[in-house]
Symmetry: C2
Subunit: 277 residues, 2 copies
């Protein structure tokens, strides 16, 4: 497993990799969700590149950039047994050198949901993913369904900018009690950790209604709000029942849809989603 | 010579090209300036891809998109003897399908000069060039110094977004009387064609001062304005003496600099430039 930081070292190594290359871009502090992406990339490609970079440009001024959890040594230990060929762990100075001034922006899809709550977030995401795509030149790139809007935005960007890359979306991994795995779960104290299951519970209750035939999006949104409202530590930022492709809020569910939410549990902001249909 | 329009056909063909690939992106209506880029690409690579696409998103609402000269048959005749492997001539629907919403933007470098006169122009340029880079995956891409700011912007974008592509800048080709070759020269009537040499003459006069030791940028700008002012058909839009890399206007010339201008000759907007130092 080659652990590289400079772009030149990465390029040199990439040129030596014959066959299909799979990419798993991460911000580190890996959990089983990340590792499932790596395993799938390994199974579907000749070589796997994992990037670890806490991208400053996708954090807002009041967000958790400085305290975002980092543990490179632990991450490398987790990756070693999985047959990863290259870990690229560039510095912020390598990614955004002095004079840096180029941005990739996806428009309509980044307006609602996370985009509305985190202005500039997706501009940071699409820019860094473009840079990582160009630097690593993968055949396939693996992302988790946990970040549903990110997946939609990156699929759109890949299509729009003609990246010759297949975007592979992998299911959200969950703890036994349903909490979606996330590096940010580390922020939760014991009491908050218990309360955090309310996201999964509210999604499950709404899905039950859908599975029983309910197609009125307001009924599903209200059910999610009702369950979330029953948890005193939960502070709802948004609850959505949107078209899966456009992310526009629905009245009636006629095609594939996305239930999603952002909820503060104490000071920790968590997101989760279910795909319907 | 393969003449392709769909992205899938292009990708399939690209995968069959072994060795180094050179790209010459054009808007067609080729002149010897374009052909010199193609010849250089042919000399420096195993294969050459030429793209011909009049990119609507780099034209302003009041600009000459609809009357921009087009002659694909003639272009192909000119390219055939040069050993070009692939001509990619996509439609606007292929490049910007329904739902298209992703843009690449370079910031500071696109503010002055052409960027100030043509709002949105460079956003269109950097977006289409990103798309063409991803679609053709060249090792080297060839651009003319005639579009000096475009060259600066594309070099910056290539660096910033980690495109693994070498940008090769080729000298401006000129008619015998000094007029820079341009597809837009076709718009000029006989009288305007004669008057159009004033751009070259004003740049030459300013360069004479520089070669004689003058380093005050105002003196050079004033000399260019003076010469341009002597031509009744010329209507100056801007005259610049700027830092070659940052494109910021200079007081004193201490490093590599760019003399540039945009001038209307009748209704035709022409640009030209000299590099100093």
């Amino acid at each position: 497993m080659n652990i590289l930081s400079s772009l030149l070292d990465l390029r040199t190594k990439r040129l030596s990799l014959d066959g299909k290359v799979g990419l798993v871009p991460t911000m580190g502090y890996l959990h089983p969700g990340h590792l499932s992406l790596v395993s799938r990339a390994k199974a579907e490609n000749d070589h796997v590149i994992v990037t670890i970079f806490v991208n400053p440009t996708q954090f807002g001024a009041n967000e958790d950039l400085s305290k975002y959890p980092r543990d490179l040594e632990r991450d490398l230990e987790l990756l070693k047994p999985l047959g990863v060929d290259v870990v690229w762990n560039p510095s912020a100075e390598i990614m955004y050198p002095s004079g840096y001034q180029t941005w990739v922006n996806v428009e309509a899809l980044t307006n609602p949901l996370e985009g509305a709550m985190r202005p500039g977030h997706f501009k940071g995401v699409t820019t860094i993913v473009s840079k990582i795509f160009n630097a690593t030149q993968p055949h396939k790139a693996y992302f988790g369904q946990k970040d549903a809007q990110q997946v939609a935005v990156i699929r759109r960007m890949t299509l729009d900018l003609n990246f010759p890359i297949e975007i592979v979306v992998c299911p959200t991994l969950r703890e036994d009690d349903g909490l979606a795995m996330s590096s940010r779960n580390k922020y939760l104290n014991d009491e908050e950790r218990k309360a955090a299951t309310v996201l999964f519970r509210s999604l499950s209750e709404a899905k039950k209604l859908f599975d029983a035939g309910e197609r009125d999006a307001d009924v599903l949104r209200n059910k999610m709000k009702e369950v979330l409202g029953s948890e005193p530590l939960a502070n709802v930022q948004y609850v959505s029942c949107a078209d899966y492709d456009s992310l526009e809020e629905l009245n009636l569910i006629e095609n594939k849809a996305l239930l999603s939410m952002a909820v503060f549990i104490g000071k920790t902001r968590l997101i989760d989603n279910f795909v319907l249909g």
